[in-house]
Subunit: 354 residues, 4 copies
């Protein structure tokens, strides 16, 4: 287990987007990292970060004056957090790896690549072995899952470990900020909901199986949960809620399910990563929770709240899970993965080959 | 089949509530009925209907001046439409029946009473036999289902008839007007959703089985669908959407499912009830529909829109269905049932025993 | 006064935008007009109108199959309704006039041009004299005002005629549909309002003076009201509300102001234009009105509701006025102007020089 | 100037309401106060505060177990913060004063009482002289103004001091939380706004003149600004925005107005009250601000943001001002007044006569 003795230089790509901004905000107050480089789309290149910021006073002076680079670099930082759009990520991130960087990416581009770890620290930190053994600096890409997959898989993980998850019928209620700036048009979202998010259901059906799979011989053996998904967009600003009907291999009592959710330590507990709350899941103690606006900011936006655990007459267990889609579901997820690669000693030496 | 040769006198109970108002609005332009009496809660008794109306000019003069009676009457109309709250309905409706009235009720009080028909005209008009044979005037209560149950059951009915529905995992997105005036507090509903509606899931789990059951020997043999439900409240004004994952006995192709939905005539087609659209279900031809605001006013609020039909890897078929909760789900449902009792010759002679 | 004996062929430009769609919808059910040509932006050219329509079944067959032309034409219709964006209007509309067409435009491009009439039929139908005398067919452009200016000026007109309006402090609450599809981003508009609409306050400060000006010698002598404006965007779908503090030359009682608003016939009453309600202004009889959602659909969207008339200790009179921004404020405004040019015998002979 | 050497015992009345909760939250982390007693409505009496709390874990243990008293006491705390409803405040607060307590009240009941100080620390701390000289403990009531009056008057105060405010035309955009739990019904507020808040305009027209008045001979000589107000409710959760058109005695340049707003120290600067930001007003540096959701949490909810300063052709100067209605406009306002009475040595000795 490695704790940095001096700040680790990092670069943030896509620094002016919805997710990138929150990564920057997390970086400027982070105990381990030193934000030394930022990049945005070509048309912003050359401006100072502060000029592209909604509220420049909120940034420390030295960060405000960082020049916005082109997303392809060059960068000196060995560790790069990427909030690039999918298409840009697909070409730029591999090039950065080829230069020797370790890229922690929120983009969906490489998530299902067999050689790329898709990681939630509490769920599958061991999948980093795809990159090489702990303690060995390495170039590569580490991805975090889709913003609805994260809370969903975190609720499933303790059940899968203990009771075996066989099938899941999921319905998501996704906030507008999940669509990036400026969000869906307000003409669509006032007094309405949108019953389909293109491309989303496909991700939610496969990513949990990769996350809950086992790593071995340089590849992931995915779990075999059968997952059916409906993804909807609702007029909520932040916070994705997922309604889950779950079929288990075993037949635990509801109290056993509740106890399991409440006491699950996760697999990153001993790593004490700075962004993660001590307990991965919070069990709501009221029947009308989780609610996006009331629960999304729990644990600095990194809390995952489970509620409404009850019997499902069709599949066995029903529950709801909710987390902040921009924090736990994206920016905070990437930062936690960055902490994980640091803690496991995988960050390359500063400067890389750049 | 009976067509009224002169207008049938009707009374409306709970005439100033969210649902009652819409029943009144439907009555004043109805080809068969003559609104002769209105009642509201005790504290309104004695005022004219127009005084309690948001927009009195919208009412014909003779309706505007109708005095508001106490909900227990007395009434002269043989046919009474009730939008009373549950508790009031439980005592007042049986008393009206004892006086010889036929009460068409939107209240949940008597829905699951074994002797009381729970009816959607397109789904189970034959359940009226519980009251007695067609053509015979009768006193009694006819109820319509919960506002989310109506679109859900209308989507399930053609599948159940053709392929046998075994199990359903349902998730509802219910509009705020379903909670009655003034709706949930805006502090709850701005930038938020509410993941639980007390009492609602229980109704949605049982009413569809009664509706799709068979009538015989003075009782209903319910269908045996296993139904698991999550009910949520979303910041939408009108229009309940239900996401359905359906397990069928047979394994029809998705095209067969679509064709069945599109061509289902319903069981009220030959009755030509004035409030019902010619085709009970409309199949949306775009993947991002139904949407509450865009589809709820179809067919004067009586349209039921199905969309997103696709494979569910867990249960077989997945789809969404949506209808206007106050019209198709309540006021229009009661009026359609009133039309049904008229058409089948069950309305008692004017004046009853009152 | 001219009533068409056979349908007048019209073309609609910008037919697939927020406003253009509503013009098309008004045209297909209009007693005087025959929609023969439609145009949209270059990238839609060649498709049938029905292919670009959200709900093609809502269009009559002959309209559904109309091919989308380029906005510059050519067109055979002598009368053209334009919902083009400002920049396109600035070049295309004059070219159509040069070909001999009469263009009724919703665009802001030419509104303040001294030779172009800016018209609300009830307010200043005589301004059409800028184009030439009634009864004489003519090529030219007739514009309607900004969507917030229309209700505001309709409330001011009867007061100006009777009492002399000297100064106005206006605050607008503008709906998101006023910004065109897809509206402001939902991330901006959920749980928020936007205190500034670029370019809007400038229009609202000058257009009312042109509208209430006098025509003579081929030019408009504008009124001299001093107008200060704040324009805001609020999370409402349709309906612009304007709060007005008004200083009058005379000092009528509030009852006299109310009577004036209620009884104002407007200047188009004798023309009996099909789209206009018999009474231009409706005085709300409740203190909590007008409300956008409850009042915007009055008179098919062409109603203008005034309310909250009371003393302003600073300027004398205070009131609120509200109308549907897409109907009375745009599409219906253009159609009413088209009716006005027909009624006053100014439409050129079919075919023009095209 | 007095700094407490030991924590001052305080009681909070109405502790479970919208405002009372926020006072409790501010108290439990306050450097000067010790929350020793809480009270709520009669029907909660006897329960522990934590039982009535939405999120009991957020309260320190010793506060969670405080029993809820009846609002009339008895209390031992010499200093009482009251968030009682108007009617309850009118009877209970004078009784507490008679017992020797100093009551800092958010209720509107006594605000315009000539003997009761109505105070914003930055605006008129000297009005406390109504109670007696600084340094002398005293029983009495100190009130804070209406939640829209606070930001409005804070924007007017520096202008009034420097240039003389003669007249104001104000339009408010008030958030739903200003109406208390559960807020206006969501049926009213979805896709709508409400153009009238009963009783509100009357308060906004008079309270600023009392606040900007001069104290002498045991009474307030109010300022003589002529104020006309429209109050509206908009679908925003928190944050009241006020649009102001201002007539000044002098004719400063807009730059002088901006400089005055930006540099105004307020009259509490030297008191360094813990809840107040160092600079009372923040001048937004973007033309599209203040926005409620983006600016309301500035300075822990105590920031007041001014923007859109520009010329008003009618009255001279126009601007917008916004603040969090529950924090700066209510709970934080009361706490700041409590700090002010402590700092000026007016809190009675613990225990009073109780």
């Amino acid at each position: 287990m490695s704790t940095p003795t001096s700040p680790i230089p990092v670069a943030v790509l896509g620094a002016t987007g919805t997710v990138g901004r929150r990564i920057v905000e997390r970086m400027v107050r982070h105990p381990w990292f030193d934000l030394v480089e930022v990049a945005a789309s070509e048309r912003s290149t050359g401006r100072a970060l502060g000029e592209a910021w909604h509220d420049p006073d909120a940034l420390p002076t030295e960060v405000r004056t960082l020049p916005l680079r082109a997303p392809a670099g060059p960068f000196t930082a060995p560790l790069i957090l990427s909030a690039l759009p999918r298409a840009a990520a697909a070409t730029i991130e591999p090039a950065l790896v080829a230069e020797g960087r370790l890229v922690v990416s929120n983009a969906s581009a490489g998530r299902m690549d067999p050689a790329t770890p898709l990681v939630i620290p509490e769920v599958n930190p061991d999948h980093l072995e795809l990159l090489g053994p702990a303690g060995t600096p390495v170039a590569g890409v580490v991805t975090n899952p889709n913003c609805a997959v994260i809370p969903m898989t975190m609720a499933l993980a303790p059940l899968h470990e203990a009771f075996g998850v066989q099938a899941v019928v999921a319905t998501t209620f996704q906030a507008v900020s999940g669509a990036g700036l400026p969000g869906p048009g307000s003409i669509t979202m006032i007094d309405n909901l949108h019953p389909w998010i293109p491309g989303e259901e496909e991700k939610i059906a496969v990513e949990p199986n990769k996350l809950l799979g086992t790593v071995g011989e340089g590849r992931i053996q995915p779990a075999e949960m059968v997952i059916g998904v409906t993804s909807t967009r609702v007029p909520v600003l932040h916070g994705h809620l997922v309604d889950l009907s779950i079929r288990l291999r075993d037949t635990p009592s509801l109290d056993a399910v509740r106890a399991r959710i409440r006491s699950w330590p996760g697999r990153a507990a001993e790593l004490a990563l700075p962004s993660l709350p001590p307990q991965p899941l919070r069990l709501a103690d009221r029947p009308d929770r989780p609610q996006p606006r009331l629960d999304r900011d729990d644990a600095g936006g990194m809390g995952v709240t489970v509620g409404r655990i009850r019997e499902c007459p069709v599949n066995g267990v029903r529950m709801a899970v909710m987390a902040h889609n921009l924090e736990r579901g994206a920016a905070g997820a990437a930062v936690a993965n960055a902490e994980l690669v640091v803690r496991t000693g995988r960050v390359p030496h500063a400067g890389g080959q750049g």
